[in-house]
């Protein structure tokens, strides 16, 4: 049976992604959403900025891959990082793991974000940054380009540095599996 036709703000895909009609998604053929991901209004996702150099054997044509149970808040921007390598400029694919929360007004140009990452609002994640699993990034943090953030870190400041470790139980607190405060906001 086809899913119920509703004229709500959100479009639900077969895998349970909820995508706001007011979001700006460019190059959707180059974007993979893992499922149960929520994309709020005014989000911008730049799937059109794909690789321009000859793609490797396994890279395919994916510009942005997002895992399951991710939450992209209002006005956040995902755009793949780009750089000049061997005299040609190219954008490179961006990978985001599961249970990643991206706060309001964030601009993310990371190469890789692991699972269970919480990015508070108004953060800027620089080009080719790599953020490992279980990381919390505080409000207004600017992560410099090419930074690598290890697992279980609490990051803050401009430029963002690791200010504390998270406890081993951090994963539970960072889960985005239908937390009430998130789901309520889109009903």
């Amino acid at each position: 049976m086809p899913p119920k036709q509703t004229k709500g703000e959100y479009i639900e895909t077969d895998t349970g992604n909820k995508v706001s009609r007011k979001s700006v998604i460019l190059g959707s053929q180059n974007i993979i959403l893992g499922g149960k991901t929520i994309i709020q209004a005014d989000c911008t996702i730049r799937g059109d900025l794909r690789r321009t150099v000859a793609p490797g054997q396994n890279s395919g044509n994916v510009a942005i891959a997002v895992g399951r149970y991710c939450f992209l808040s209002r006005s956040s921007v995902l755009r793949p990082p780009g750089r000049t390598h061997q005299k040609t400029f190219s954008y490179y694919p961006m990978k985001i793991g599961d249970h990643v929360f991206v706060g309001e007004g964030c601009v993310v140009e990371a190469a890789l974000i692991g699972s269970y990452v919480h990015i508070a609002k108004d953060c800027v994640i620089g080009k080719f940054a790599i953020i490992k699993d279980c990381v919390k990034i505080e409000e207004g943090t600017v992560i410099a380009p090419n930074t690598v953030i290890p697992s279980f870190s609490l990051v803050s400041g401009r430029p963002g540095v690791v200010i504390d470790e998270l406890p081993e139980t951090a994963q539970e607190g960072l889960e985005c599996r239908s937390p009430n405060h998130l789901m309520r906001s889109i009903r």
Binding site: V24, R79, F89, V107, V142
Partner: protein
């Protein structure tokens, strides 16, 4: 949030002068009444907002204006963005920017501010209203400043030209929509 008005004939197009090699995405928005001039080889990403309601906008050659930027002149004297300037996501530009400068993510250039040549404004920094930034200044962190004496402006310019060449392939350009 009120729904965005559809870009239709209802909104008057500003008098626009586009060089033939401009790459301008269809989803960019050019509004206002004063003229907008865009130089050769400049790239305007989708959802960039250029508003010439208060004064004319002049953008030089080899510039990149990213999505969600707002460029609005403060008054009738207008606003000039010189050659080789990169304006990143979410920046709000209400003052002039000198050649070779980089305006990073979320920067605010206040009304009538003026940024010199080859400056770099780091993410989320601010230029106050009417403030003049000297040439080669780098603003970083929470407003700290230093002078960049590395003299890498030419190298950066070459990288920028390659960047523009790749964007020419990626961004479908539709200048005819903006010219009247």
């Amino acid at each position: 949030m009120p729904p965005k008005p559809r870009p239709s004939e209802a909104v008057a197009k500003p008098p626009t002068v586009l060089a033939s090699s401009v790459v301008i995405a269809e989803a960019a928005s050019l509004t206002g009444t004063f003229p907008i001039k865009i130089g050769a080889n400049t790239v305007i990403h989708p959802r960039a907002k250029l508003t010439s309601a208060q004064g004319p906008i002049t953008i030089g050659e080899h510039c990149i204006i990213c999505e969600r930027t707002q460029i609005c002149p403060p008054g009738a004297e207008g606003l000039v963005i010189e050659d080789g300037v990169v304006v990143e996501v979410n920046a709000v530009v209400e003052g002039s920017v000198g050649a070779g400068s980089v305006v990073e993510v979320g920067v605010r250039i206040g009304k009538g501010g003026s940024v010199g040549l080859n400056c770099k404004l780091g993410p989320l920094t601010k230029v106050l209203e009417g403030e003049v930034i000297e040439d080669n200044t780098v603003i970083f962190g929470s407003g700290q400043r230093r002078v960049d004496a590395s003299g890498t402006a030419d190298a950066r310019r070459r990288l920028l030209e390659r960047h523009i060449e790749s964007l020419r392939v990626l961004i479908p350009s539709n200048p005819s929509k903006f010219v009247n």
